[in-house]
């Protein structure tokens, strides 16, 4: 078991290195200079030369690559051409917002995904099943950016129930920073007003992100439950007198929860990817928004930085869920 963990942990830096390499070559294939595009066509050669030298964009590709790797290892993700601040610093600033959004959505997905999956399986082929699967499938097909905008239109503009974006009303100051997650921090410091306000801002973006990513979890839980319900041991539990409720929602559920864990890692990946769109729509100051605006300014370093960061988070989450899965299922012992 320990060996498995060590092997997986060691694999992460290697994967990250490969990912970084991939990113590097993807972004440096295009001969157009980022600087030239930023500064526009009417810049002097001197200006271009100066910025080029400053960012090392004139050296041969391989040299740039080694320098790049070296920098990454030191934690230097380069500087954003637009903001002129180190990318890493920006990432750290924006990270908590994305984590808060992702965690919130993940919780919603876990709760509702499992609920829908179980209901769909237990009432197989009934209208309830179709309804549950409909929500899941419908959720996936909805374009996240569009859904977010529709929600804003309906709930913020027309109904006025929710704010139109951002993490907090402009009139309030963020809570004392412990974790960077407004909801958590305000809870910990007893700042109830901010707590309510932060939740209000978090709700619609969270629901948008969650709704569009429900289907993986629901499908997995449903198929796992169906398999479990068809097993002999389920029949046996009924044969001894356990009620249907007990069998479905207590015994069979545990079997399915274990499979549900395996999709959490995958779902998190989708959430992180989808965060880019949702953050853009809701002006949510997270890594996603940072990446999107950087793209518009043809500012590559932040984009790569965000991608690598997300890769790290993704890898860690996958490792944790795999371990969790092995821990929960008594049949697996490495």
């Amino acid at each position: 078991m320990i060996r498995y963990v060590i092997k997986r942990v060691l694999w992460i830096p290697i994967t990250l290195w490969l990912v970084a390499t991939l990113m590097f070559f993807m972004t440096h294939l295009v001969p157009g200079s980022a600087v030239r595009m930023l500064l526009g066509p009417h810049t002097s050669e001197a200006q271009i030369e100066k910025v080029t030298a400053e960012y090392g964009l004139d050296k041969p590709l391989l040299t740039q690559y080694w320098a790049y790797l070296g920098d990454l290892a030191k934690g230097d993700f380069g500087k954003s051409i637009v903001t002129r601040r180190p990318v890493l610093k920006e990432l750290v600033t924006y990270l908590p917002a994305t984590i808060e959004l992702t965690l919130f959505s993940l919780s919603l997905i876990i709760v509702f995904g499992i609920l829908l999956g179980v209901v769909a399986a237990v009432h197989r082929n009934s209208p309830l099943d179709v309804f549950a699967r409909g929500i899941a499938v419908g959720g996936v097909a909805l374009p996240q950016f569009w859904l977010g905008l529709m929600f804003i239109l309906v709930f913020s503009y027309y109904l006025g129930w929710f704010p139109m974006g951002g993490r907090l009303s402009l009139t309030l100051t963020p809570p004392h920073r412990i974790t960077g997650l407004y909801v958590l921090d305000s809870l910990l410091t007893g700042n109830w007003r901010v707590l309510g306000n932060a939740l209000l801002h978090l709700l619609i973006p969270g629901i948008t992100l969650a709704l569009t990513n429900l289907s993986t979890t629901t499908a997995m839980v449903r198929s796992s439950m169906l398999k479990t319900l068809g097993e002999d041991y389920t029949l046996m539990a009924r044969a001894y007198g356990h009620s249907a409720v007990k069998v479905n929602y207590v015994y069979a559920l545990k079997n399915s929860l274990i499979s549900a864990v395996s999709v959490i890692g995958l779902t998190t990946g989708y959430l992180l990817g989808g965060a880019v769109l949702v953050e853009t729509v809701f002006d949510w100051p997270g890594m996603g928004l940072f990446a999107a605006t950087s793209i518009l300014h043809v500012d590559y370093a932040p984009v790569i930085g965000v991608a690598i960061f997300i890769a790290i988070v993704y890898a860690v989450v996958n490792l944790v869920t795999d371990l969790l899965y092995a821990l929960l299922d008594p049949r697996i012992r490495y």
Binding site: T27, L142, W146, Y270, G273, G274, V276, I295, V306
Partner: protein, 275 residues
């Protein structure tokens, strides 16, 4: 095959899915006939009109008829989806077959490559790719193909591994069947099921991802009538001119839902066969 058709026909969801897809295909093929206006025709006098008899879906900021743009937009979405999935399915299947059949070093290299591509969430990777290559429809297609072949490769490799050591394969080899023949005439047909599922679902995801990338400004550029781009432009004019984002978005939803409904049903068929 006939059994598949039978089951598909009996599942109302699949039928709905097929109808949705067909709807969009019809729109795409007969766009010039269906669209009442030239999608690129600018007419400032008519800009920001809400939906009416004249303009079913209203007009946009440049006075272009949104209904016509939505109709022509179907061409963009379908083109992207089919090109991307064709490339990634072909590439992925080929690599998957090779990887699974030959094993060893080749397998390891290909699988490591797959792992790397899969270690970053696909949208993010496509985003980086499209950003790096420059915003255009072609580059979006390229970026997505580069990322998505991995899914096919994994699945096909899995199926190949399952079949590789069966007596069936052994018999073929002992009869002198040569490798390419084995790969294509014998292994490949067995993978058709899972490939079909993956392909259909991926078509839906392609539409979703490409419209997301267009929304961010990475895909189709103005004045192309791409649905995602239309939503992005329309966003500036909320809430007053709600029709500019509503209709393109609904179309994306319908097309994607169609593919997913169909794909899910095919998946049910395939897994039932396996049982």
């Amino acid at each position: 095959m006939r059994r598949t058709a039978y089951i598909v026909r009996r599942s109302p969801l699949a039928v709905i899915g097929i109808l949705l897809i067909l709807l969009v295909v019809v729109l795409a093929i007969f766009a010039p006939v269906i669209a009442p206006y030239n999608p690129q025709k600018i007419n400032f006098a008519q800009s920001f009109q809400s939906p009416s008899a004249d303009h079913l879906f209203g007009t946009d900021d440049l006075g272009r008829d949104i209904f016509s743009r939505v109709v022509y937009g179907s061409r963009v979405s379908l083109k992207i989806a089919f090109v991307v999935v064709s490339i990634s399915a072909t590439l992925g299947t080929l690599l998957g077959l090779i990887s699974g059949y030959f094993g060893g070093f080749v397998d390891m290299v290909i699988m490591r490559l797959v792992d790397v591509f899969l270690s970053v969430p696909t949208f993010v990777l496509a985003m980086v790719g499209a950003a790096a290559l420059g915003p255009s429809v072609t580059n979006v297609m390229l970026a997505m193909s580069i990322v998505w072949w991995t899914w096919h490769a994994r699945i096909v490799r899995g199926e190949t591994l399952k079949l590789k050591n069966t007596d069936y394969m052994l018999a073929l080899r002992s009869m002198g069947a040569r490798t390419p023949r084995i790969l294509f005439r014998h292994l490949l047909p067995n993978c058709v099921g899972p490939i079909a599922v993956q392909t259909t679902l991926q078509l839906g995801l392609a539409v979703l991802t490409s419209s997301g990338l267009s929304f961010l400004g990475l895909g189709a550029q103005p004045p192309t009538p791409s649905w995602g781009l239309m939503v992005s432009i329309g966003r500036q004019y909320l809430p007053a001119d709600w029709w500019m984002i509503t209709f393109p978005g609904v179309m994306i939803f319908l097309l994607v839902a169609g593919f997913i409904l169909l794909g899910d049903t095919i998946r049910d068929v395939v897994s039932r066969d396996i049982q």
